[in-house]
């Protein structure tokens, strides 16, 4: 199996049971749902609700899935394979390498909804504090903020200062 993360934009009718109806084919095909985001505030002119589903699935099953969804009357707007759409940069200052930078990166990569996509490190001298910039990408803005909080907690525990954008 070649697992792949997919971000799927669909529109659902605003009646009960629609979400389960739409998610069923994903689990039938062995997909692992990571996040579901309902945009209740962005109802379409026809009264449908946009929903973004992020999940992991065998790459070979993607086409089948889309067909099954359409057959069920779910309107599929977009199948995103580049799933990470929101990103932010943070600066870290402290004994970053000595306190094991892997933990920091893992804390984000293990979430399933965010990843560290870029890292720059400045180490002026041994025993001096180093500085790093990390770019984090996530499936959406909410998940990005969640990832930033996780990173903030890990940094605090390690005594590393984190500077985030306003």
């Amino acid at each position: 199996m070649r697992a792949m993360k997919i971000s799927l934009d669909i529109e659902l009718k605003d009646i009960p049971g629609q979400l389960v109806h739409a998610l069923k084919p994903i689990s039938e095909l062995g997909g692992n749902i990571i996040s579901v985001l309902h945009h209740h505030n962005r109802k379409t002119p026809l009264g449908n609700i946009p929903v973004q589903v992020v999940f992991e699935i065998d790459e070979r099953n993607v086409e089948t899935l889309v067909q099954r969804l359409k057959r069920r009357g779910v309107s599929v707007l977009r199948v995103g394979r580049e799933r990470l759409r929101s990103s932010k940069i943070v600066i870290l200052i402290g004994h970053i390498v000595h306190s094991d930078i892997r933990d920091l990166i893992d804390s984000i990569d293990s979430t399933g909804f965010a990843e560290v996509v870029k890292l720059s490190l400045e180490m002026p001298a041994i025993d001096m504090k180093s500085s790093a910039s990390l770019t984090i990408s996530a499936v959406n803005e909410d998940k990005l903020n969640e990832a930033m909080e996780i990173l903030g907690d890990v940094a605090r525990k390690k005594g590393i200062m984190m500077i985030s954008p306003i």
Binding site: E122, K129, S131, P165, I166
Partner: protein, 339 residues
């Protein structure tokens, strides 16, 4: 052209840089205040740590001038500052003693005494306003007098007046760079790639940072200003303990370089809203309204109708504080019909 104006009697409590500078501007602009506002300010008493000088008809300007030049007053009475405030008839007390963040004293007692004696108060002293905002406002309301404190937040930048002028809008958040010393240090580190300690020493040599700069660089000074805004604008009954505070002493030139590479700079940003009271170094996009350099202060007021309004001005310094004090004094005169 009016040659004489309504006499408004004031006392200046605390005759250091700010108090002295207020006196100096009153002397220099006396004719203009009479002409433009119809107000003839008379300083009937001044007090500093050494004593009190009082003259119920108004202290002669050449005497005030000599106090200003010597940076100290000579007393002509055994009266205490509190007795001056309570017993000598006057309209406005300018409270400009140094800030004490633990007890608020001696400013707190001065302000309480002045309000209880039904005198308007203008202060540049952050301590009493940050520590006892509600209590002071309750006394002022009960006595039907004003307590104004523009000089405590953002120096010459008329932030409180701006917010008071946004009637009809709901202010949802205020964020800004509210400490000129920190902004100078971070600007120099960014421009010259010099370490923090080096930039701090430079700021001290230039008189921008105090010999004990801890209140500035720890973020505490910014936190106090946020507490004042939280209480005055958001009615939050906040205290210093409610503010999450991080200072700038850990910031490295390398961090500023990395930020620069990504299109950002680092500023000590204070942020206040109902959900958040925080002082922390933050990444600010280059060219953002909050990206001001040197000792400048800036604040963005977020409102529901008008959107974002940003104000920039000189933060630190006795002249800037005196400017805010004078503007508060004139506001009292015009709104209370003292003229």
């Amino acid at each position: 052209m009016r040659q004489s104006g309504k006499v408004v009697r004031i006392t200046i409590i605390g005759f250091g840089n700010v108090g002295g500078c207020v006196a100096e501007v009153l002397m220099r602009r006396r004719e203009a205040f009479i002409r433009e506002y119809g107000i003839d300010f008379r300083v009937v008493g001044v007090a500093d740590a050494k004593g009190v000088f009082v003259s119920e008809d108004g202290i002669k300007w050449d005497i005030l001038r000599s106090f200003r030049e010597r940076h100290s007053i000579s007393r002509n009475t055994d009266m205490s500052a509190l007795e001056l405030i309570e017993d000598v008839e006057h309209d406005i007390v300018v409270e400009a003693t140094p800030t004490n963040l633990k007890s608020g004293e001696p400013g707190l007692s001065h302000i309480i005494a002045a309000l209880r004696a039904s005198r308007h108060v203008v202060t540049s002293n952050k301590g009493p306003v940050a520590l006892k905002y509600d209590e002071l406002m309750n006394i002022a309301d009960a006595k039907g007098v004003q307590l104004r404190f523009e000089a405590t937040v953002g120096g010459a930048m008329p932030l409180i007046s701006l917010i008071q002028n946004l009637e009809g809008n709901e202010v949802t958040a205020i964020k800004g760079v509210l400490n000129g010393t920190c902004n100078y240090i971070l600007t120099r580190m960014y421009e010259e790639k010099i370490p923090f300690e080096h930039a701090l020493r430079e700021a001290q040599a230039l008189g921008i940072a105090e010999s004990d700069p801890s209140q500035d660089i720890s973020g505490e000074d910014t936190a106090v200003k946020l507490v004042i805004l939280a209480n005055a604008v958001f009615h939050m009954k906040a205290s210093l303990d409610d503010v999450s505070v991080q200072g700038i002493s850990e910031i490295t030139p390398e961090a500023l370089k990395l930020a620069d590479d990504a299109g950002y700079t680092i500023k000590l940003v204070g942020e206040v809203s109902r959900e958040r009271l925080e002082v922390a170094p933050r990444l600010v996009l280059k060219g953002d309204p909050l990206d001001v350099r040197g000792t400048l202060n800036v604040a963005t007021v977020k409102t529901d109708i008008a959107g974002d309004i940003t104000i920039v001005g000189k933060g630190a310094g006795p002249k800037e504080a005196a400017s805010a004090v004078l503007s508060d004094m004139l506001k009292i005169c015009t709104t209370e019909k003292l003229r």
